[in-house]
Symmetry: C2
Subunit: 211 residues, 2 copies
């Protein structure tokens, strides 16, 4: 399983925005939409072994966590508007601390970085930062990872402290600072290659669709 | 310089579409929009050493070539709608065989794959196909490349024959079939890493902005 967390510091938390302006009225929701797409899409079908967690911290109701489960996901197309629309639908539910299902494979709850991280006990936490250890040097040893990325403003000092306290290792995907969705594509490629080298099916490419 | 060609077999060629439906009414223009964004954006600013060439082959006026020049580009944001809007503006010009400038850094002309390839004489043509040679094995030797990618239907047999006749080498970016924009991100990363290893500034990260 590959889990991917993206922190959206300005991302709208009520669903009250227009799909025609995901960067503006929705608080750079376009970034999160591209992350969902890069995390989940293969050329033909979906990465069923991937979950995406969006931590939305913008106004008017900060602290919502959306989860996209590759295994159960439906109604998602690769364009930004499509993920934007599933995000909007989920935000229109009245969220509690307990998961509520919005559409197949999309869940929403209230929470913060700490509550999100507490659900990953026993997993390998990998926090992406430009000056981290090169993922290419360790890709072969990575098992059952949870990757954590920032948005256009990165990760705050406080969040970073929480990540390090939870045991996260800092890794880099290359020599330039890139957009979060590009980093996700690079992570997948490193793991796909490592799995293929080990003779496994990369990205569980044959993966079942359950519903 | 890195040049990237994407062939859009169904992509609208009149500009007569709505930005609210890039996948449908615009003939999977969303694919090309994501390619433009993945080819040109860094975290802070643009890759000034990159040109993107979109070959649009859909109705109603097939055979238009749009060129995005990283060095001169303005008014582009990373979201799909932003590149979609620059594409639409360019398509609304009456195109001839000669380049016409639409917005800063965006050019349009009539043409086909042959006329496009003839402009790349002396360059290294690299055609992306799932079963090609691993780019990672040769990234260090790549200089002044032109990468050619298909869209959701790939590359036709006839186009492939033209590419091979022009001397293109077939390369792969990994063990799974991916979306075209994901492939572009992976190409850049291989070249960025190779340049950094050689002690060059990867992606000409310091690059000047001319206008
Ligand atoms: C647009 S970048 C953030 C830019 C910048 N770090 C800042 O603080 O404003 C978005 C996220 O992508 C990840 N990232 C970008 N480039 C990276 C690289 N080369 N290696 C690892 N992670 C990277 C980081 O997690 C970062 O928070
Ligand atoms: C969505 S894929 C095309 C799917 C499939 N090849 C077809 O013919 O329908 C879009 C393009 O990305 C490129 N591509 C996808 N995966 C690739 C890989 N692993 N290596 C090299 N190129 C790849 C190819 O240029 C392909 O035409």
């Amino acid at each position: 399983m590959r889990d991917i967390v993206v922190i959206g510091h300005k991302a709208n938390t009520s669903g009250d925005f227009t799909l025609n302006d995901l960067p503006g009225s929705a608080g750079r929701m376009d970034i999160l939409c591209r992350c969902v797409s890069s995390a989940l899409f293969l050329s033909f079908g979906m990465r069923r072994d991937v979950n995406v967690h969006l931590l939305l911290l913008g106004e008017p109701d900060p602290g919502k966590i959306l989860r996209f489960e590759g295994l159960h996901l439906r109604y998602l197309n690769p364009d930004e508007r499509s993920s934007g629309s599933l995000i909007q639908k989920a935000l229109q539910k009245s969220a509690t601390e307990q998961d509520i299902r919005s559409t197949p494979g999309v869940w929403i709850r209230r929470g913060n970085l700490d509550s999100l991280l507490s659900g990953f006990e026993g997993r390998t936490l990998l926090y992406l930062r430009e000056d981290g250890e090169d993922i290419r040097a360790i890709a072969n040893e990575i098992r059952d990872p949870v990757f954590i990325l920032g948005d256009h403003v990165g990760v705050t000092e406080e969040e970073e402290a929480q990540l390090l306290k939870a045991g996260a290792k800092i890794i880099s995907v290359g020599p330039l600072s890139l957009h979060s969705n590009h980093c996700i594509t690079l992570i997948h490629n490193e793991l796909d290659r490592a799995e293929a080298e080990r003779g496994e099916l990369p990205g569980e490419a044959d993966s079942r669709i359950e519903d």
